[in-house]
Symmetry: none
Amino acid sequence: MSSLSDKIENYLRELIKRYEGEVEIKRNRLADDFNCAPSQINYVLDTRFTVERGYIIESRRGGGGFVRIIKVKLNSKNEAIKNIIKQLESPLQPKEAKGIVKRLFDNNLISQRDRIILEAAISKKSIGFNDDEKNNIRTQVLKNTLKAIFKI
Amino acid sequence: MSSLSDKIENYLRELIKRYEGEVEIKRNRLADDFNCAPSQINYVLDTRFTVERGYIIESRRGGGGFVRIIKVKLNSKNEAIKNIIKQLESPLQPKEAKGIVKRLFDNNLISQRDRIILEAAISKKSIGFNDDEKNNIRTQVLKNTLKAIFKI
DNA sequence: AGTAGAAGGTCAAAAAAAGTCAAAGTAAAG
DNA sequence: CTTTACTTTGACTTTTTTTGACCTTCTACT
């Protein structure tokens, strides 16, 4: 008794397997094939192809648009990064953010070079400090850069 | 399944590579080859061969008219970086910032890895968009990360 | 010099995709 | 049988590309 979402999920998993971890789809086309609302595809993506499960989604709108699903190889490093990403929810202050980067480095999860870049990115100098919105941005920056690293 | 614009872009890049950084085309002729409106060529030029990415466009109208695309060579690496950093003054929109990163990568000044990380850092997803303050933060992030990379 | 025709430029509307969000519907748990 | 969690649907938004009508600049020819 699998739901439509499950079927779409299975279908995508198959595709991803066949194409060795990376696949590109047309959202509307796929929705059409499965006879559902396009936004259902997003639902499936949002609930089943998350970072926690080791996927990254990229997309482009407009003519020739697409949705790309990338399966990330889950070694222990990525596993660890993934967990840290999951914890990045509440707005981080500069010091806290820096602490996380240090931790990543100390545990050999990112290189020295990565560390230098990340620290510069999230620094007070770059983003500023004190209001919640800035800290929010900082958290997003850290989160997205980690996702990017995770993908590489 | 890339868009027409992508195809034209690729074609032009090829040409530019083949002719060592400078190429001259007939706009209408090219549009005809690709079976599109002439203004589409301008669209491609405007969105993909921008100054941030290190291209200069020259053209002449009238009989014997042409469009010339010139890829600007960066002199010594450090010089180039310094200049790019110096130019990071006015608030950059996501696309502009991304253009700069692309250029740095295309010119072998940063690695693919750096590029992916920087793009994630300055993305709309990380910082947001539309108000001047956000764009300012974006510019600072780019500036500081580049400074960090080149330890200036 | 004056003008026709040949290029290229501009701008905005239409079209093509994808994203978001919340309401309505179902299934599962208690 | 009620409450909660998960799915499905649809209306509306945003982004990107494509098309076309009209404008400007140049060259060549009389």
